[in-house]
């Protein structure tokens, strides 16, 4: 099961953020004036499991649009409710040394709070900056896909609260069909930059929370397919480099400690 977030109909109301905080009893961070559009949340972290991004693509020339174009032309105010992607090939799950991060029966990625020891390796690995460290609990936190609600037959709080149904929750097959239809409709209407992100396996084997974007993934702070890489890509090269270095280091050491041995042996004899 998962989310399909259609950013083309997100109105930036932040009802998803509020519903998430209320259901999951997240205190939220101390309010700050970020001076970043209408965003006062900043980023996903231990207190923000949903974050509505505001991306202003408005020309600077006193608001005069020389060549008016629809949203796909790049003069727009993009909004996206960001969340954990519950990746099929999840970087956090890959590196977690304690097996605190598991895949649930709903195919979501969950941090078991009673197992996590707060090493923060998952934060280092998550390519989306989703996971945050909670100082009070001493553990890593992120969206659970409302695991407790799913267990009780309810949909996640954010999807329930979204007034425009920008956030849809359901079986992936159904969501993917709906996404394909919506993409076709948008492209037919002239929104050429509209694209699906995480719909197929090109990004982390497919995302259980995938998106319809109105611009390139990078605009929404999402790595494109070329940059969506797993931490383990450096395992083999890293260890091989270390092994070769160790061998060269040993040779360098042997050469050093076998040199001038006569001096050492003479000094032994003198003792």
């Amino acid at each position: 099961m998962g989310f399909f977030t259609d950013t083309s109909i997100c109105i930036g109301c932040k009802a998803c953020e509020v519903a998430c905080k209320e259901w999951n009893q997240l205190e939220g961070n101390k309010p700050e004036l970020l001076l970043d559009s209408f965003d006062n949340t900043g980023q996903l972290d231990a207190q923000n499991w949903r974050h509505v991004e505001f991306i202003e693509q408005i020309p600077d020339n006193n608001g005069v649009v020389m060549t008016p174009t629809p949203i796909a032309g790049g003069q727009a105010w993009l909004m996206m409710s960001d969340v954990c992607k519950h990746c099929q090939n999840a970087s956090c799950l890959e590196v977690c040394p304690t097996n605190a991060i598991v895949r649930t029966e709903f195919d979501s990625v969950l941090i078991q709070q009673d197992v996590c020891n707060g090493c923060r390796d998952c934060i280092s690995a998550c390519p989306y900056g989703v996971i945050g460290f909670n100082e009070k609990t001493g553990t890593a936190h992120k969206c659970t896909l409302c695991y407790d609600r799913l267990q009780n037959g309810m949909q996640p709080a954010c999807a329930k609260a979204c007034p425009t149904e920008s956030i849809k929750f359901g079986y992936l097959d159904d969501l993917q069909k709906a996404a394909d239809q919506r993409l076709t409709a948008l492209q037919t209407a002239g929104y050429k930059k509209a694209q699906l992100y995480g719909r197929d396996a090109t990004v982390y084997g497919g995302l259980n929370a995938f998106f319809l974007l109105m611009d390139k993934p990078e605009v929404y702070k999402l790595p494109n397919a070329q940059n969506a890489v797993l931490p383990s890509r450096n395992n083999l090269a890293g260890y091989a480099g270390g092994f070769v270095t160790a061998v060269i280091g040993l040779v360098a050491g042997v050469l050093a400690f076998r040199s001038n041995r006569m001096n050492g042996e003479k000094s032994d004899a003198a003792r």
Partner: protein, 296 residues
């Protein structure tokens, strides 16, 4: 080639981790040099070998403390080794942190036993049985296995950083080799420092340690160059510039010290500890540079 994109949040690995990387590196490097001195050195080198094994264990002592202190839930440190979900072992070979936890445990055993053997040889007779066991082939095998684990502890920290999605760290796969070479350089500097402060260390041993220090520094210089090249190719080298150039300066001065400062010190009558101290500062600065710049 377009620059690599990174949207990962920093993990907040700071001073405890810096301390662990520094002392863990010195411990692994000292053990390796101790083994080299023991297996290919002269009889006169054996005093330095004993100092190396003792230094290795003493440097290792704060490591688990630093690691546990860095955890958000320190009492759950055991979850690194035991799976709290099913009671089995938490062993994930593809996770450097998991593998490193087991390596640290194993290396701790080898380092401790070698430490006991070294102190017995130095006159603490309560540990004589261990010293007897560690003589001959058994001792050589023990030292070789311990060196392998020591190398792992020295280098996996770099792999741990590389196996992430952080800028700089994940762009520089040679980081494991860089940290390993730097550990050898640092350990050689540490042993030179200790050798210079003791009168019972043979002059020839000190000369050979200084030569080893230069060899290791050359290896480290080459690897740092490769690391910088990989990060530059990824387009994230800017993260290591700016204020971090000060740390680069400390790294460069420390790496040059075995070639220049030691000769200057001899010519001008400076204390012989100058070059080793600069070398140790270089090891610390390199790790601080890598850890903090990527997260800034």
């Amino acid at each position: 080639m377009p620059p690599a994109e990174h949207f990962a949040a920093p993990p907040g690995w700071e001073w405890w981790i810096l301390g662990y990387f520094f002392f863990g590196g010195l411990s692994g490097g000292s053990y390796a040099i101790g083994t080299l001195l023991r297996l290919v050195g002269t009889a006169a080198d054996q005093r330095a070998a004993r100092i190396a094994f003792i230094a290795s264990f003493l440097a290792l002592l704060p490591c688990p403390i630093f690691l546990i202190a860095d955890l958000g839930q320190p009492l759950r440190f055991i979850n690194m080794l035991l799976d709290a979900s099913n009671g089995g072992l938490a062993f994930k070979p593809w996770s450097p942190m998991s593998l490193g936890s087991w390596a640290l445990l194993g290396f701790g055993l080898f380092s401790f036993v070698s430490f006991l053997g070294a102190v017995a040889e130095s006159g603490w007779h309560a540990a004589d049985p261990i010293a007897r066991i560690l003589r001959g082939t058994v001792g050589a095998v023990w030292n070789i296995i311990g060196t392998g684990l020591g190398f792992f502890v020295s280098g996996y920290t770099g792999v741990l950083l590389a196996v992430s999605n952080q800028p700089v760290w994940s762009d520089g796969w040679p980081l494991g080799g860089v940290f390993l070479a730097s550990s050898l350089t640092g350990a050689a500097a540490l042993l030179l420092l200790l050798a210079n402060s003791r009168r019972d260390i043979d002059t020839g041993t000190t000369v050979r340690l200084a030569l080893a220090d230069r060899n290791f520094a050359l290896l480290e210089i080459v690897l740092i160059a490769v690391f910088v090249a990989t990060v530059a190719l990824a387009g994230t080298i800017g993260k290591m510039a700016g204020v971090w150039l000060l740390l680069w300066l400390v790294v460069i001065v420390g790496l040059a010290a075995p070639f220049t400062v030691s000769r200057l010190a001899a010519a001008r009558g400076w204390a012989p500890v100058t070059a080793p101290v600069l070398g140790l500062l270089s090891v610390l600065a390199l790790r601080a540079l890598v850890i903090f710049s990527a997260q800034s």
